[in-house]
């Protein structure tokens, strides 16, 4: 009982929500990428690998050029390039998209360590200094609001970017012609083709966008929060993002809700020095909550109709 009170009391602390948002955003960016890719009909389980690649190149670029902005850009490009492999293999070569995604994840895990060895040998990759990391911005006035100020307006620049992107992706996907086209390609590619849309171009664009977003998430993790690279540092976050995307029924806002659950889980777990329960059981909380919510409230999640089906234009 005391444990429950202890956890409930945490919800009244701004610190908890602030940390929850940090980790929610780390998942939100790849999840948004996943939503875009799968809405266009390309299954994407490669966010983990694209994020890890982004994390490595962010640190590498930041240490070389001493600019977090350039580094973030490099990370996005790196993520985008990994996504291009996925795109070429699954769109051009019409390979099984799950195989390709798994291959990207394995590839990134091997490649990043291999690059660490080739570039840095067995030395530390090195630390990104506070001055050269992606900065925290306190928004004037707003950041001094009690509670909400600390949670929402004393955050890293990428947190603001991600929250804006959440709104942008939601609007673009469901309120614009571009969004309609993306969804059309993901639901009825033949019909979309007949209507004059270039299925390939839209799918390439969507997959590569998912890589850019995952790369940015990697940059945030590596040079906005951890300020270093360590092998495998994404630690399964890309897979959690995948789960969040499906949990959210392939919508940005739904995915964000799931990301918040996981972010809160991380933040609650971070309190294990004062909560009197086995840290392992405490750590299980977000996963069990997700299962319970799926079983009771959310239920069926159905992917876009042509998600995962390679498209071959009629003539070829």
């Amino acid at each position: 009982m005391t444990v429950i009170t202890e956890i409930l009391q945490l919800f009244l602390t701004a610190n908890l929500w602030q940390i929850a948002l940090v980790f929610a955003v780390m998942l939100l960016l790849p999840a948004l990428g996943g939503v875009i890719s799968e809405r266009s009909g390309v299954v994407n389980i490669a966010m983990e690998g694209m994020m890890l690649t982004g994390a490595f190149f962010a640190v590498w670029a930041d240490l070389n050029w001493h600019s977090p902005w350039i580094a973030a850009l490099v990370a996005m490009i790196a993520g985008g390039l990994m996504a291009s492999i996925h795109a070429v293999v699954s769109i051009r070569f019409r390979a099984d998209q799950i195989v390709s995604g798994i291959a990207i994840n394995i590839f990134a895990a091997g490649l990043t360590v291999f690059l660490v060895r080739s570039i840095y040998g067995l030395q530390d990759v090195g630390h990104v200094t506070q001055a050269e990391s992606l900065p925290n911005w306190n928004i004037p006035l707003l950041s001094s609001i009690p509670f909400l100020g600390q949670v929402l307006f004393q955050q890293n620049v990428i947190v603001y970017v991600a929250l804006i992107l959440l709104v942008v992706v939601e609007i673009v996907l469901f309120r614009t012609r571009l969004g309609l086209r993306i969804r059309a390609v993901g639901e009825h590619p033949q019909a979309a083709d007949t209507a004059g849309l270039n299925v390939y171009v839209i799918r390439y664009g969507a997959v590569i966008t998912s890589g850019l977003l995952s790369g940015l998430a990697g940059a945030y993790l590596a040079i906005g929060y951890s300020n270093t690279f360590s092998p495998g540092m994404t630690g399964g976050r890309g897979y959690i993002a995948l789960a969040a995307m499906i949990f959210g029924k392939w919508t940005p806002r739904g995915a964000f809700v799931a990301c918040l659950i996981f972010g809160l889980g991380t933040a609650i777990y971070a309190n294990n020095s004062t909560i009197h329960i086995s840290q392992y059981l405490l750590n299980m909380l977000p996963y069990i909550i997700t299962l319970v919510v799926l079983a009771g409230l959310v239920g069926r999640s159905t992917p876009p109709a042509a998600d995962g089906v390679p498209y071959a234009a009629g003539s070829e």
Binding site: F93, A95, V99, S100, A243, G308
Partner: protein
């Protein structure tokens, strides 16, 4: 064709090595020696290398089946890892609690116990899928984390811990252990103490498992239903197949295979549950094995052997040639790409051809989706 794809991957791997100024010949000599015991240059014992490869291969075969079977039904079981751990936990718990039972009773008990635990773990995902439609990718990922944390809870300061601070369980009873083919003593075989050859009777179990998979899939009505559900749920329903029942049963059987893999690993190799299981990757490697094996029994066997050999070979490559064993991951990825995209054919014919889907259904994420108009939500 897969053989050519593997060769293709090795050629690309060699290029990567050359770019990073490493010697591909040294690297591949090390891999070949460590993986298959061939062409060893630095005094490695060939029999030992082959034995290590087989030990790595055994759990991959069973876990590979655990991923391949649901694929056939249009389900993506990303949770073989959690089911593997559930099997290992159950096997250890039974093997410790009932340690003084005789082998004839205890060994089947721990193996069946592991299968039951794996089945239950996967069954949760199957049940949620069949009843409320919760996507198995989400539920199995969640169940992986829960299993991993449950394992840590049990052995780090928890009820299964041997004694405080050891981070491992008591060993299972002698009766719960799978025998090795060679005596576990120091009599010399091929120049080394025979106990270094750890190949155990779990090999036979894994071969039986993969045979059961083939028979189940192609020779039983359940197998027909699984394949039908995988092709098209709608058509399967017209054919009188209960898709819900098929989903649940498929996941239960798949989980039993993965749980068996975990139980065999405990009973045949480790004999107790240790910290290292929290970093285990068998269930994830199994996804690649199932995809690479094109969902067939022989394919899974060969793919598991290839991954086992690469795993064993990577260590020898690093010791001999000083090249990071992570190269193995790059090679694995290249092999997957190459098989999936069928680059060679595409290059040969200069035109893209329909990709050979590794599993009969185009892709599970699709196959599970009942055809439906419009976006799923508004």
């Amino acid at each position: 064709m897969p053989l050519a794809s593997v060769l293709f991957a090795f050629v690309v791997g060699a290029l990567i090595l050359l770019v990073t100024r490493a010697n591909p010949i040294d690297a591949y000599t090390g891999l070949l020696c460590g993986g298959l015991g061939l062409g060893c240059t630095q005094g490695e014992n060939s029999a030992l290398q082959i034995s290590n490869t087989i030990v790595y291969t055994i759990p991959l075969i069973m876990a590979g089946v655990a991923v391949a079977l649901p694929f056939r039904a249009g389900l993506f079981n990303i949770g073989a890892e959690g089911q593997f751990l559930a099997g290992a936990i159950a096997c250890t718990t039974l093997g410790v609690k009932l340690h003084d039972w005789p082998t004839v009773i205890l060994l089947p008990t721990v193996l069946v116990g592991g299968m039951a635990a794996g089945a239950a773990w996967a069954g949760i995902a199957g049940l949620l899928k069949a009843t409320v439609g919760a996507h198995e990718v989400v539920t199995t990922i969640m169940l992986n984390y829960v299993a991993q944390l449950l394992l840590e809870f049990l052995i780090v300061g928890g009820p299964l811990e041997l004694k405080s601070g050891t981070s491992k369980s008591l060993p299972i009873g002698d009766g719960a252990r799978l025998a090795t083919f060679l005596p576990a003593n120091n009599s010399l075989v091929f120049g080394l103490p025979s106990s270094v050859y750890r190949v155990h009777t779990g090999l036979i179990i894994s071969l039986v498992a993969v045979a059961v998979f083939a028979v189940l899939l192609w020779r039983t009505s359940l197998g027909y239903e699984i394949r039908a559900a995988g092709q098209s749920q709608k058509a399967a329903r017209y054919a009188g197949v209960s898709v819900r029942r098929t989903i649940i049963v498929t996941m239960l059987i798949a989980g039993a295979f993965a749980g068996l893999a975990g139980a065999v690993q405990i009973a045949g190799v480790d004999h107790n549950l240790t910290d290292k299981y929290t970093a285990d990757t068998t269930g994830f490697d199994a996804i690649a094995v199932a995809l690479l094996g094109l969902g067939s029994a022989v394919g899974i066997l060969l793919a598991a052997l290839l991954f086992g050999a690469l795993h064993a070979g990577g260590a020898v490559m690093q010791a001999d040639a000083g090249i990071s064993s992570q190269l193995v991951l790059v090679l694995q990825a290249l092999i997957l790409f190459s098989i999936a995209a069928n680059f060679l054919n595409a290059i040969k014919l200069r035109i893209p051809r329909l990709g050979r889907a590794p599993s009969a259904p185009a892709s599970p994420a699709v196959a599970v989706a009942p055809p439906q108009e419009g976006p799923p939500t508004t």
